[in-house]
């Protein structure tokens, strides 16, 4: 048995601090009691209640719609943005690049307020589409970042080789560049999807009447105290997010390793 050092002790405390609340939450989601304060034996009743809850289901559907549409549009635009920034030289490229990636560091609250102020000033009514538009702001930036990092490792001659073999610039893009970028695009999409599913702040500012994404629904419920079915929902969400980000990371890792093997 290795001697515990102060570093390993510190690490254990740190991880405990980060993950202990989640573990508690997961444990209590299987609690038979209505109240989180005492343990009354293992039960799946909160999960059953969760899957029968129609409001939760509708909220999930809203969230999935928002995330899917925002990610799909951002995938196309983000890929084009990354390719364009890598390929062309034009005046103000540095500024353009900076502005494109700015949403990654701007606080969500600033994006949320700015979007709301903008939408009211041009008198666009809030709806599902305004949330999608607001989510695209950060989805686009995340996808572009991941795609451009993949693009940087790509042989710059690939597209030229396709042109050289007679492909038009469009064919070269569709048949060579996009398939080569696919792992990056996919990883970026999964990451953006998770972030969009997770977003409370921007959605709460830009949601129209009748639109109720999952994080908003959860937030409105916990205001009156945490019920065990929310514990169960959180466990489901954490598991789903972890699986998706794990998948994204795995795709990125595998394609990077393959690229390195070739080099």
């Amino acid at each position: 048995m290795p001697q515990p050092t102060w570093q390993s002790l510190f690490t254990a405390v740190m991880y405990g601090f980060m993950y202990f609340p989640i573990i508690v939450l997961a444990v209590y989601s299987f609690n038979g009691s209505r109240y989180s304060t005492n343990w009354e034996g293992f039960s799946l009743q909160w999960y059953r209640a969760l899957f029968q809850d129609r409001r939760i289901f509708l909220a999930l559907m809203d969230s999935l719609t928002i995330a899917s549409v925002a990610v799909a549009i951002s995938a196309v635009l983000g890929t084009l943005m990354a390719v364009g920034l890598a390929k062309y030289r034009f005046w103000g490229k540095g500024i353009y690049r900076g502005v494109s990636y700015l949403p990654l560091i701007i606080p969500d609250i600033a994006i949320a307020v700015a979007t709301l102020v903008f939408l009211t000033s041009v008198a666009i009514p809030l709806s599902l589409w305004t949330i999608i538009a607001a989510h695209m702001v950060f989805c686009l930036a995340y996808i572009a970042v991941v795609v451009s990092s993949r693009l940087q490792n790509l042989d710059p001659n690939l597209e030229e080789a396709a042109l050289d073999l007679g492909a038009t610039p469009f064919q070269a893009m569709m048949q060579v560049l996009i398939p080569q970028l696919a792992p990056g695009i996919l990883a970026g999409c999964l990451l953006a999807f998770v972030l969009s599913m997770d977003d409370l702040l921007i959605s709460s500012f830009t949601a129209g009447g009748g639109v109720n994404p999952l994080p908003l629904e959860i937030f409105s419920r916990v205001r009156t105290g945490v019920k065990p079915d929310i514990n169960a929902l959180s466990v489901v969400l954490i598991t789903g997010s972890a699986l998706l980000s794990g998948l994204a990371e795995y795709i990125r890792y595998r394609s990077d390793r393959r690229q390195r093997q070739q080099a």
Partner: protein, 384 residues
């Protein structure tokens, strides 16, 4: 100035129709000149090399022919057609890239078939021609592999097959063997040469490896700082360099800067600032009046002797270094006047000279190449 060199270029070994012609081609990148005024004719069926150090503009020249770059000035013609408005994907050329640029999401077969499928050839023809191409580069067994399952040499062959299968008028090869180890490189050089003979199409090879250029090419253009210094056959380039740069870049040489003092009957007399007198065979093209010149003596032309020899050029010095190279012995001789000459002796089993041994270094007047310090001399001027 440099143009005078090519106008006197002797007719190439493969006289015929012109496949690729560059007329006054200039290329700037953000006002930084990469290529400065190229005039060049490459004939049908020729193996033509563009040779130069990195950054001399040789790859840019190839990319201008392929259509990946547009010239700032001048024009590129392929088979007599001006390529000014013709984009890369409609030019009758195919390129082999140094990085191979294989599509690693496709099998070897699909990589090679790519160009044919784009041209919408019937499937049975595609299949046949891909098989032919695989056979040509001896990769029949690898059709269903993915590129990342291949070694460097195998990827190189697939890249060659992918270009050849389209039956281009001109093959462009950008340092195709640069990433291979020495032994494989030698082997691929032989294969490239065989392929060129079999197919009879024009090959344009860009390389910084002078040995590769000398051994493969019908003609070589030596590039230096965006210009062509000399175009000629490998023996023109090696034996009759026209500029100090070419003499120095192709093989080893001893360059002595000096001043042409005058003529002693059949020989010219050159004196270096250190007082060294060098006799050079006279030639009608070299004006005998005094002007600054550079004398080039190849290390293998210099001989060593302990006794005073009878020779046009004979200098006393001491051995300053000895390197045993197997087939040859590489020596340095520090002359009494201060210069150090590099000497290459064939290894005939003689004893290695000791350091600091006094020696005479000598060579004949006709073994010296006289180069003008400023202007390149016409190719025809020189030693027989």
């Amino acid at each position: 100035m440099a143009q005078t060199v090519y106008s006197t270029t002797p007719a190439p070994a493969t006289e015929g129709s012109v496949d690729v012609e560059l007329r006054g081609v200039v290329k700037h990148f953000d006002d930084e000149p990469a290529v400065q005024g190229l005039d060049l004719r490459i004939y049908q069926g020729e193996f033509f090399s563009i040779l130069g150090p990195s950054g001399c503009g040789k790859t840019t020249t190839l990319r201008l022919i392929a259509g990946f770059e547009t010239p700032t000035e001048g024009e590129v013609l392929i088979q007599g057609v001006n390529m000014g408005r013709i984009p890369a994907h409609r030019r009758p050329v195919n390129t082999v890239f140094q990085s191979y640029a294989l599509f690693d999401h496709m099998t070897v077969r699909d990589n090679i078939a790519f160009g044919l499928k784009i041209k919408r050839l019937p499937a049975n023809q595609v299949r046949e021609r891909v098989l032919d191409a695989l056979r040509l580069v001896r990769m029949e067994g690898f059709a269903d592999r993915m590129p990342n399952q291949l070694s460097g040499g195998q990827k190189q062959r697939v890249a060659l097959a992918r270009a050849l299968v389209n039956r281009p008028a001109v093959m462009l090869l950008d340092e195709p063997l640069g990433a291979l180890d020495l032994k494989l490189r030698k082997q691929m050089q032989v294969e490239l040469s065989t392929l060129h003979r079999q197919l009879g199409i024009t090959f344009i090879l860009v390389t910084h490896d002078q040995e590769e250029a000398l051994s493969l090419s019908d003609r070589i253009a030596v590039m230096n700082a965006g210009r062509i210094d000399q175009i000629g056959t490998p023996s023109d380039i090696y034996d009759r360099p026209t500029t100090p740069f070419v003499a120095d870049f192709i093989g080893d040489t001893n360059l002595l800067h000096g001043h042409l003092e005058g003529s002693d009957g059949t020989v010219l007399r050159v004196v270096t600032p250190s007082g060294l007198k060098v006799l050079v065979q006279q030639h009608p093209e070299i004006p005998p009046e005094p002007h600054p010149v550079v004398v080039s003596v190849r290390p293998e032309k210099i001989r060593l002797s302990a006794d005073f020899p009878t020779a046009d050029n004979c200098y006393h010095g001491q051995i300053s270094h000895v390197m045993y190279l197997g087939t040859h012995i590489h020596c340095g001789v520090r002359l009494s006047s201060g210069e150090t000459l590099t000497v290459l002796l064939a290894n005939r089993g003689q004893a290695l000279p000791d350091l600091d041994t006094p020696m005479y270094a000598y060579w004949a007047a006709e073994d010296v190449r006289l180069l003008s310090a400023e202007l390149p001399l016409p190719v025809s001027a020189g030693n027989p």
